[in-house]
Symmetry: C2
Subunit: 311 residues, 2 copies
């Protein structure tokens, strides 16, 4: 069933340090700025953009990929920065790179029901803390950043989440991972010689192969279930996963002018890519009230999300 | 609005290693068994108890406190163990110790809407991997374990989640934490002399003080909002946070025979306590169809949950 929500405000943040790799631009924190700092900045900008105070927010959701601390959840730590003294609930929703889409998807039901009026979703990720210099492909691919979006109840019967689908294909679970730092291999077991096990590890080929096998069928089912042809929407915002994005889009038969590719200018921003580009497109006017946009992407898992949103 | 769900199956798992501290019993893994192993065992037991196959599940939610790996989310790693080859979506929902209540709360909306028919929620936590021997209170308090619950759509108009409330008071965010292992202090910065920063750190007094300040008002508002007196329900299952549970219950004016205290026999099982005790009470017959039960608790954050469920 359609969930009637609108985007009431948004805010993004990029760190100032700029790197160039093969003519492509990446943004990275300077070693002092943290994932939490970026989350705070994006959240405050979203509140300002919405003309809201923190007291107007009914729930804070952290939708990042990698946690700030093993305990407590990241949303509670963000709460301390932006909502201390209030009793706004703070919760993490995580499907790795597609966490923002999953959080938007999930929380839209609670807004439709009336549980919450305004939900602040914050995606912040700092890939630079975990990159492995020996893996050139991923080392040169990622940017740090944050984006926050406030979603609110809409009274417009045509506005909101029309349909959404999430699927996990765990054949790909070890193709993208950081093995060390959780309970399976705690930080206390860290040894310098095992450094790579505590860093980001991406195997591009098996992911690409799994995507080409699974995505076409999933998109077809999405089109059938929600009576939409993906090329008929106004814009498709895929997760900016890598430089092979155009190949994936071609396999999905998505027209070149129909989707946004900002990998050269922004890199892969983990959970931040989708909301960041969404906000860029709203800011530039390419998306406006009435636009139909598909948010989609593949995440470590391998988890795939597709969501159709009428703005 | 009420969300019509029922518990279709459940399964729990305790590790075999038993410890006694001051006459109280704790269960701990042996250093080989992992948080993931426990999650798998509980999930398989829940499926068997429900008479379901994994193909009957529409969504897998990991509702543990501490993650298995920094990346991907824990649900994807559990998916590999119990659902490989399927495309069931896998997602983490985290409010630390109350993650199970938050997951049940959140997913009940998706079931009520018809998005999913059967949702498998798995809480698994392995406190023993992160305890600090120098903090006797927490070192002797925790048990490892796992519990999985399958929630399904109910056609009974009286069955389901009647009401729920989550609040976060981030004044208490540093009273319960593991500071190292996430991006704020990565595993790669680990040094033996900073070991305590990568271990569980609990400051009992400020948590107790914050609870006594905030909980009575929250419970009163819950009672007013949902037209219920907590002492009129059949049973209250609080998070088995610590040995001061009776003092907190007394402050909340909850009758002694109305709530379950299994701290002596089970310890604090982090996110597992609430579902574990819930399943014990169903198994023993103390809770049955028609029973009204309140699940509640405080979590690192400080996050407080209250949820009224008609079984």
């Amino acid at each position: 069933m359609m969930r009637h929500i609108k985007i009431a405000g948004y805010g993004s943040y990029l760190p100032r340090n700029v790197f160039e790799f093969n003519g492509e631009t990446r943004y990275r924190c300077n070693g002092e700025e943290t994932q939490l700092d970026m989350a705070e900045k994006a959240a405050l900008r979203a509140l300002e953009n919405a003309g809201m105070k923190i007291e107007d927010i009914d729930c804070i959701v952290s939708a990042g990929a990698v946690m700030l601390q093993p305990l407590p959840c990241s949303a509670a730590l963000i709460h301390e920065r932006i909502a201390k003294g209030t009793c706004i609930p703070a919760m993490d929703i995580n499907t790795t790179c597609t966490s923002f889409i999953s959080a938007l998807d999930t929380m839209s039901y609670l807004i439709e029901d009336g549980r919450y009026g305004n939900v602040l979703i914050i995606s912040s990720d700092i890939a630079s803390e975990g990159l492995n210099e020996d893996q050139k492909e991923s080392y040169t691919l990622f940017s740090d950043g944050a984006c926050a979006v406030i979603i609110s109840k809409s009274d417009d019967p045509d506005q909101g989440v029309v349909g959404s689908m999430i699927r996990t294909y765990s054949e790909g679970v070890h193709a993208t991972e950081i093995r060390g730092g959780g309970t399976l291999r705690t930080a206390m077991k860290y040894r310098e010689e095992d450094r790579a096990d505590y860093q980001f590890d991406m195997k591009g080929k098996p992911i690409f192969s799994l995507c080409t096998k699974k995505l076409p069928g999933m998109f077809k089912e999405f089109e059938e279930e929600f009576g939409v042809s993906v090329n008929d929407v106004d814009l498709i915002i895929p997760h900016q996963a890598s430089r092979v994005l155009p190949f994936i889009m071609k396999i999905l038969k998505i027209d070149e002018d129909k989707y946004v590719n900002r990998v050269s200018e922004l890199g892969n921003m983990v959970s931040v890519s989708v909301p960041y580009v969404l906000c860029e497109m709203i800011e530039s006017g390419r998306l406006k009230k009435g636009s139909r946009v598909i948010l989609c992407g593949t995440a470590a898992g391998l988890t795939c999300n597709i969501l159709l949103l009428n703005l």
